[in-house]
C-alpha cells in the first residue's frame, strides 16, 4: 500500500494516446468514479499520477497527499482500506486507512488491480461511488461524507485476472470506464526515449520489439510486454549494457519461463538488434 506525494514542480510525464485526459477531467468535474481497464504496463498508474498533478498541482488548497495509491492483493481486507484500531498503552487508537484519508482530505484514491482484493472490500465502495459519496466505518459506528474534491479511481486488467475474479456488475456499473492499450509505436518510442533517456533509434527498436512480442501476447503464449518493461530495458542500455544482453535479462526472462518461448523471444530480439 503506498501513498504518493506529488511534487508541485514536476509534471509526471504522460503522453495521451487518445482523449483519456479530457475524459478523466470531465469525469472529475462531475465526480464520476473512474475505472481504468488495460493490460499491465500500459500506463494506467502513470496516467493517474499525471491527472492528480493536473488537478491539484497548482492549487494552494490541494491536499498534502493528492493521490493515494493502494496496490490491491488477495489478503487486502476492508479494514486495510478503511482503518483499524491499534493497541496502545492507554487503550486503543484508531488509525485511518488510506481510503478514509483520501475521503477526508479530498484526494484521488487509486485502487490498483481492485479485483485482487477480497470481496468485502468492493462492497464498502458502493456508498462512495453513487450520489451519497459516503464512507461508512463500521468499527467507529460512523459515516464520513466525502470531501468535495475526493474521487475514487480503480483499475483492473480484464485479460490478466481470471474469470472468477471479475468485477461484479453492481460494482462495475458505478464507474466510467477508460480503456487503455499499448501506445502506438511512434508514441511508445517517444515514451521510452523520454523515460529511459535513450536515443530515438534504440527507443524505436524497443517499441518495434514490443509490437512483435505483443502478437505472442494476443495468442496467449505470454503476457505481452508493457511499456514499463521496455523502459527498463532501455534504462539498462543507457547504462552501457549491450542491447541483446539488456533484452535477455530485462525482458526475455521476465516474459516467460518456458525455454521454447524464450528462444522465440531471443530470436525476435536478435532480429531487431544486431550483435
Amino acid at each position: 500500500m503506498t501513498s504518493t506525494r506529488l511534487s508541485h514542480a514536476v509534471e509526471p510525464f504522460y503522453l495521451p494516446v487518445r482523449d483519456e485526459v479530457e475524459l478523466f477531467s470531465a469525469a472529475y468535474e462531475q465526480r464520476i468514479p473512474v475505472l481504468l481497464k488495460g493490460p499491465t504496463g500500459s500506463g494506467k498508474t502513470r496516467f493517474v499520477e499525471h491527472m492528480a498533478w493536473r488537478l491539484f498541482g497548482d492549487r494552494p488548497d490541494a491536499p498534502a497527499e493528492p493521490l493515494v495509491t493502494v496496490s490491491c492483493h488477495d489478503d487486502l481486507t476492508s479494514a486495510d482500506l478503511v482503518g483499524r484500531y491499534l493497541l496502545s498503552g492507554e487503550g486503543t487508537t484508531w488509525l485511518d486507512g488510506p481510503l478514509t484519508k483520501a475521503v477526508r482530505s479530498g484526494a484521488l484514491c487509486y485502487l490498483d488491480e481492485v479485483v485482487e482484493a477480497r470481496k468485502d472490500t468492493t462492497v464498502i465502495l458502493h456508498a462512495l461511488t453513487d450520489h451519497r459519496r459516503m464512507l461508512p466505518i463500521e468499527r467507529l459506528g460512523t459515516t464520513i461524507q466525502a470531501h468535495d474534491d475526493f474521487l475514487l479511481v480503480i483499475s483492473y486488467n480484464p485479460g490478466y485476472q481470471v474469470a472468477t475474479k471479475d468485477l461484479k456488475p453492481s460494482t462495475r456499473q458505478r464507474f466510467m470506464a477508460i480503456e487503455f492499450d499499448y501506445p502506438a509505436s511512434d508514441l511508445e518510442t517517444q515514451i521510452i526515449a523520454h523515460e529511459a533517456d535513450l536515443d530515438e533509434t534504440r527507443a524505436g527498436q524497443l517499441a518495434f520489439l514490443g509490437e512483435q512480442l505483443r502478437r505472442l501476447g494476443e495468442a496467449g503464449v505470454i503476457d505481452g510486454p508493457g511499456t514499463r518493461l521496455l523502459v527498463h530495458v532501455g534504462e539498462l542500455m543507457v547504462k552501457g549494457i549491450a542491447p541483446r544482453r539488456a533484452c535477455e535479462v530485462g525482458l526475455v526472462q521476465a516474459l516467460s519461463d518456458d525455454s521454447d518461448v524464450q528462444r522465440a523471444i531471443v530470436d525476435v530480439v536478435s532480429a531487431i538488434f544486431p550483435e
Binding site: L86, G91, V162, A219, V221, D257, A264, A271, P274
Partner: protein, 739 residues
C-alpha cells in the same frame, strides 16, 4: 539446428533401434522444441499460426510450397565450412523471409491499386473483379508459370530489402545466407540466353555483384537490373512487383530458351544503368499472347533454399482451391476458348548470330516435359489440393450462435479450404444424470486400488505438496496475529469478535488442473472378449474401461490435491456437440460425481475438435500453473457433418482426413494456449492416421483396451513429470505406444 519432420515416428523408431532409446528421444525432443520455437518466432512477426514441415532436397517442389498454415523448410541448413552463418541463423533468415511476405502484403495484391515507382502499364480493367487478384495476375502473363515465377522473384527482392531495413539483426545473417546461395548458382555461360538472363536476376536478388553473360545479353540484363533495383526502394509495394515482372517478362520472352552464346563477359551490376521504362503499353498488349504457355524455369533452375517456392500462396485460387498448375491450365484453356490467346512469335531468335547450332524442337515440344514446375507429377502422392490463403468462403453452412450460458461456439479447421471456419460448431453443456449409488466407483477401487496407491506415491515423490497460507480462517495451524489483535480490540470495545483467528497452512496450492474428456460415441458400447487370465472379472464394454481408467486417476488426483474435471462427449452434428459435465474443474468432489460417472452410457458421434477447444477454453479460465487435457477415445473422430461434403470432390477418405486434421489442429491450438493436450486412443490403428498429423508426444495408442487403466495412470504420471517446473512440456515426455 535441424527441423524435425512431422511424419517421423517411423524414423524415430529406426533411430531407437540404431542409437538407443534415450538418444532418440532426446533428439526428437530437441527437434520438436526447435520447430516449436521457430513457429512462435513466425507468430511473433506475423500474428499467424503455422506448422513447420521440413523437406528433403529431392522432394517435388509442388509438394513443398507454403500454404497459409504450413511453412516448408529444408530439413537441414545448407551449411558449408566456407559459409559464415550457423544453422540457427539460416532458419531465422528463412522464417523471417516468409513472415515478411505476410507482413508486406505479397498475398494481398490489388491489381487496380496504384504504386509509386513505375509508369503504370497494367490495363485499367484487369479481368473479373470476382476472381482473386493473384489469379488475374496470371492472366496478365498469358497464364504463364514463368510470369508467376518472375513476380515471385521480384517479391523476393522487395521482401529481402525490407527485411534488412526493418530487422537490422537479421541483415547480417541474411547477407551471409545469400552469399552462400550465390555459391550454389549455376554458371550462366552454359545456359540459354533466356535462362542466363533469369539467372542474372536471381544473382542480383541475392546481392551478387556481377555475372558472366554473353555480349548480346548485356542490354537485356542491364534493363532487368534497372527494374529490379527499383524494388529495393522502401516505397515499393506488391503492385510494384507486378509492374516489374511485366517488364522483365517482356525482356525475357524476347530471348530464346535454347542454345547458348559462345562468348561471355563479366557484367558488374553496379556499372549497369539501364532504362527501367523501356516497355510500352503496346508491348504489354502483346505480352500475354507471346507468353501464353511459356514453360517455367527449366531443369537448370536451382531453388534458393531460404526462400519459399511460389505455390498456392502466390496464385490464389479459382473454383475449388486449385493449385498454380491447375489455375494456369484452366485459365489458358478458358482464354483459348475466347480467342484471346494467339500464337505469338518467339521474337528475335533468328537475329542471334552466335548461338551454337542445336536444332530447336518444334513449338509444341518446347516445354521441357517432366521438368515444368507447373506440372504435378503423377506419382507425387499429392492427392489433395493444398490449402490456399485466399480461398473463397465456400459457404454451405451458416455460422452458429450460442444461446444462454451453457452453449459455446467454436471454430473448426477446414483442411480442404485451408482455413479456419469461425463459429462452426456449437458445444452444449449438460449435467450428467446420476446413478442411485457410487457402488461402481468402489468396485473399481477394489479391483485397481494398487494403481491408485502407486500413482499417489509417484506424484507425491515428483511434486511435494506445497502449501499456501490462508489467513483469518476458523481453524488452522497458527494464530493469525492481525486477526488476534482485531479480536482483542473488539473485546475491549465490547463488540463481538470474529472467530476467524487462524492461519491455515494445510490447504494445498493448486498447481495442476486436469480435464478428462471421455468418448461416449456409439462404438464404445462394444463388448470386449472375456479376460481368460482373470475369469472373475466381468465382461466389460470399452466405455466401462474408459470410465474405470478415469475414475482411478481422478481418485489419485483427489488424494494429492490436483484439481480435475470429468466430461463425457458425444453429439449429432456440428450444431449439437454435447458435453456432459460429470465434475466441473472447480466443482467440489462429492459422492454424486462418482454416481454421475457411473451413469454414462454410449451415445452418438465423436467430434473431438470442438471438445478439445471447449475444454482448452475452460482450462484457460482456471488458475493453475500446469493445465492438462486428456481425451480418451476408442477410435477415429467421426460426426455426421464432419467433412463428408468433400467426399464427392476428394474421395471417400476426405471425410476422415477432414476430421483427423481438425482434431490435430485443435490439439495444436490447445498447446499454443499453454495447455498440455493428450489424445489417448484404444484404436489399434490409431498410429496410422494420428502419426502423420499429430505431435508424436500428444497422442498415445493403447492396443489392448484392457491396458487402459494402467496406461492412463502411466501417461498421466509421465506428463506430470514432464511438466514439472514448466507449464508446457509435453515434448519432454516419451510417447506411449502399446501394441
Amino acid at each position: 539446428m535441424t527441423v524435425t519432420q512431422v511424419q517421423t515416428p517411423a524414423r524415430h523408431r529406426v533411430l531407437v533401434r540404431e542409437r538407443g532409446v534415450l538418444d532418440a528421444l532426446e533428439q526428437a525432443a530437441a527437434e520438436d522444441r526447435a520447430r516449436h520455437h521457430l513457429a512462435l518466432y513466425y507468430r511473433a512477426l506475423t500474428g499467424k499460426v503455422c506448422s513447420l514441415i521440413p523437406y528433403d532436397g529431392g522432394a517435388n517442389p509442388w509438394e513443398r510450397a507454403d500454404t497459409e498454415a504450413e511453412v516448408w523448410l529444408p530439413a537441414q541448413a545448407p551449411l558449408d565450412e566456407h559459409f559464415a552463418f550457423t544453422s540457427g541463423q539460416f532458419f531465422q533468415v528463412a522464417m523471417t523471409h516468409r513472415a515478411m511476405h505476410e507482413r508486406f502484403g505479397s498475398f494481398r495484391l490489388e491489381l487496380e491499386r496504384d504504386e509509386l515507382l513505375f509508369r503504370r502499364l497494367r490495363p485499367a480493367d484487369i479481368g473479373d473483379p470476382g476472381v482473386p487478384a493473384l489469379e488475374r495476375l496470371a492472366g496478365l502473363f498469358g497464364h504463364s508459370a514463368l510470369g508467376v515465377h518472375m513476380f515471385a522473384t521480384c517479391e523476393d527482392i522487395r521482401i529481402d530489402a525490407a527485411t534488412a531495413r526493418l530487422f537490422p539483426g537479421v541483415a547480417g545473417p541474411l547477407r551471409a545466407v545469400q552469399h552462400g546461395a550465390l555459391h550454389d548458382r549455376p554458371e550462366t555461360s552454359v545456359l540459354s540466353p533466356r535462362a542466363a538472363a533469369i539467372e542474372a536476376l536471381i544473382r542480383f536478388s541475392l546481392g551478387g555483384s556481377k555475372v558472366l553473360a554473353p555480349n548480346q545479353l548485356a542490354p537485356t540484363i542491364e534493363q532487368i537490373v534497372a527494374i529490379a533495383r527499383l524494388l529495393r526502394d522502401p516505397a515499393s509495394t506488391v503492385e510494384s512487383s507486378v509492374e516489374a515482372a511485366l517488364r522483365i517478362c517482356h525482356l525475357l520472352i524476347e530471348q530464346p530458351d535454347v542454345g547458348m552464346h559462345r562468348t561471355v563477359r563479366e557484367l558488374r551490376f553496379a556499372d549497369l544503368d539501364g532504362d527501367a521504362e523501356a516497355m510500352s503499353p503496346l508491348d504489354l498488349a502483346t505480352l500475354p499472347a507471346r507468353m501464353a504457355g511459356a514453360e517455367g524455369l527449366g531443369p537448370w533452375y536451382h531453388h534458393v533454399r531460404y526462400r519459399d517456392w511460389p505455390g498456392p500462396r502466390y496464385v490464389g485460387v479459382g473454383e475449388g482451391d486449385l493449385s498454380l498448375a491447375d489455375v494456369l491450365d484452366l485459365a489458358a484453356r478458358r482464354a483459348e476458348g475466347q480467342g484471346e490467346v494467339a500464337p505469338g512469335p518467339d521474337a528475335g531468335d533468328d537475329d542471334l548470330l552466335d548461338i551454337e547450332g542445336e536444332e530447336r524442337p518444334p513449338a509444341e515440344e518446347k516445354p521441357q516435359e517432366g521438368s515444368r514446375p507447373d506440372e504435378r507429377p503423377a506419382d507425387s502422392g499429392m492427392t489433395l489440393p493444398p490449402p490456399t490463403s485466399d480461398a473463397p468462403d465456400l459457404v454451405w453452412e451458416p455460422a452458429l450462435h450460442a444461446k444462454g450460458r451453457r452453449e459455446f461456439t467454436y471454430p473448426e479447421w477446414d483442411r480442404f479450404a485451408g482455413r479456419v471456419r469461425p463459429d462452426h460448431t456449437l458445444v452444449r453443456l449438460l449435467t450428467a444424470p446420476a446413478n442411485s449409488s457410487e457402488h461402481d466407483h468402489f468396485e473399481v477401487l477394489a479391483r485397481y486400488g494398487h494403481i491408485v496407491s502407486r500413482l499417489v506415491r509417484a506424484i507425491e515423490r515428483i511434486s511435494p505438496q506445497s502449501t499456501a497460507a490462508t489467513r483469518r480462517t476458523s481453524t488452522g495451524d497458527d494464530l493469525d496475529l492481525d486477526a488476534t489483535i482485531d479480536a482483542m480490540i473488539d473485546l475491549r470495545l465490547k463488540t463481538e469478535p470474529s472467530d476467524h483467528l487462524y492461519t491455515d497452512l494445510r490447504r494445498p496450492r493448486r498447481e495442476v488442473a486436469v480435464a478428462f474428456a471421455i468418448d461416449l460415441s456409439g462404438s464404445t458400447a462394444l463388448w470386449l472378449p472375456p479376460d481368460a487370465a482373470n475369469p472373475g472379472v466381468p465382461i466389460q464394454r470399452i466405455l466401462d474401461l474408459q470410465r474405470d481408467a478415469v475414475s482411478l486417476v481422478a481418485e489419485a488426483l483427489n488424494r494429492v490435491g490436483d484439481s480435475f474435471g470429468i466430461y463425457g462427449f458425444s453429439g449429432t452434428g456440428r450444431e449439437d456437440v454435447r458435453l456432459s459435465v460429470v465434475k466441473d474443474i472447480e466443482e467440489r468432489l462429492t459422492p454424486v460425481v462418482w454416481r454421475r460417472l457411473g451413469s454414462m452410457v454410449p451415445d452418438d458421434t465423436t467430434r473431438i475438435g470442438a471438445v478439445i477447444r471447449h475444454l482448452t477454453h475452460r482450462l484457460q479460465q482456471v488458475d493453475a500453473a500446469t493445465k492438462i487435457l486428456v481425451v480418451v477415445t476408442d477410435g477415429r473422430p467421426f460426426d455426421v457433418d464432419y467433412g463428408q461434403k468433400y467426399q464427392k470432390e476428394y474421395g471417400r477418405e476426405a471425410e476422415f482426413d477432414y476430421a483427423v486434421a481438425d482434431t490435430a489442429h485443435a490439439l495444436a491450438e490447445s498447446r499454443s494456449r499453454a495447455v498440455n493436450p493428450l489424445l489417448i486412443t484404444v484404436d489399434p490403428y490409431g498410429e496410422n492416421y494420428l502419426a502423420p498429423v499429430c505431435d508424436p508426444h500428444e497422442y498415445h495408442v493403447i492396443g489392448d483396451p484392457k491396458d487402459l487403466p494402467e496406461a492412463l495412470a502411466d501417461i498421466y504420471l509421465a506428463v506430470r513429470r514432464a511438466t514439472m517446473g514448466r507449464p508446457t512440456a509435453a515434448a519432454a515426455m516419451p510417447p506411449v505406444r502399446r501394441a
